[in-house]
């Protein structure tokens, strides 16, 4: 196990995330000062200072409602989803590979199923992720 400030990166084969798995990402809310919530924008996939990866949650462990609860977000925050294999195969506008990875980053029992999208988080990577992730309909 390797320690990072935002959790522990697992190197165990048992923690490998399958390509067919779905991951969730909390999206900026669609209040009147933001863009309409049906539009997922690149800004939802940019790193904060000190972050090493884009935080996501595995659908095998949590529901979209769980994601909101874990992050203390209200129902106005949409949740988007994407297949892990699609993230790993993401390309730029010129069709060259972004080589993104999705890895387990354990944040303890309070954040089950936490993972991160890692790689060179360029503007092209943020844009590609905004294209790939789709909103989960609110139940």
């Amino acid at each position: 196990m390797t320690c990072w400030s935002g959790g522990k990166v697992s190197s165990s084969d048992d923690d490998r995330i399958d390509d067919d798995e779905i991951v969730y990402r909390l999206i900026q809310p669609g209040t009147h000062w933001f863009e309409p919530p049906d539009r997922i924008k690149s800004s939802s996939f940019k790193l904060r200072p000190g972050e090493m990866g884009i935080s996501v949650f595995r659908a095998a462990f949590v529901s979209p409602a769980d994601v909101r609860r874990i992050l203390h977000a209200t129902n106005s925050y949409p949740v988007a989803e994407c297949r892990v294999g699609d993230i790993r195969r993401a390309v730029k506008g010129d069709q060259s590979a972004l080589n993104l990875s999705v890895i387990v980053v354990d944040r303890g029992p309070e954040e089950p199923g936490h993972a991160e999208i890692r790689g060179d988080m360029t503007a092209a990577a943020s844009k590609a992720l905004s294209r790939l992730f789709k909103l989960v309909p609110q139940s």
Binding site: Q28, L47, T122, A123
Partner: protein, 163 residues
């Protein structure tokens, strides 16, 4: 704006008009009459920027930094410059970034142009057009010529209607 205008090599149009070289950039308000007359969406954009400026820390529930006032002023300056250059553009999506910057994104068909102002001495931009397999990402510094950026952005302009 036509590409002929953008291609003028003798005109001086550098990113220092937006990005600070050390001195603070202009703090003139965005709501001057000239600017309003250029873009029908200026008022909406201005209101959006005002609301974004008031966001608290952790506005995204993921530890997001408060948007910086300097980043907002850079966006206003950029809009002003686009208007002065006669660009015909729809309103971009305007979003705060988790690191305290402001993201602008224009989309037209398969093409997109995004630029992030973070209040510092550089802005990052990305032009993409998957249909022609193009992806151009670069930093914009105060001494850089803005014509290259405007030329990319001009590909997303609203077509002029023929009479």
């Amino acid at each position: 704006m036509t590409n002929d205008v953008i291609d003028q090599e003798d005109s001086q149009l550098i990113a220092g008009a937006i990005l600070p070289r050390g001195d603070l950039i202009s703090e003139e308000p965005i709501t001057d009459d000239f600017f309003k007359s250029e873009f029908p969406w200026t008022e909406e954009a201005s209101e959006q920027l005002l609301q974004i400026a008031m966001l608290p820390k952790n506005w995204d529930c993921l530890g997001g930094v408060r948007p910086r006032g300097e980043a907002i002023r850079q966006v206003e300056q950029f809009f002003r410059l686009l208007a002065a250059e006669g660009m015909r553009l729809n309103k971009p999506s305007i979003n705060p970034t988790p690191a305290g910057g402001i993201d602008l994104e224009w989309e037209a068909g398969s093409k997109s142009f995004g630029i992030e102002f973070d209040g510092g001495h550089a802005a990052r931009y990305l032009f993409e057009d998957p249909s022609s397999r193009r992806s151009i990402e670069d930093d914009l510094f105060p001494s850089d010529d803005l014509h290259a950026v405007l030329k990319l952005l001009s590909e997303l302009q609203i077509p002029t209607r023929r009479r």
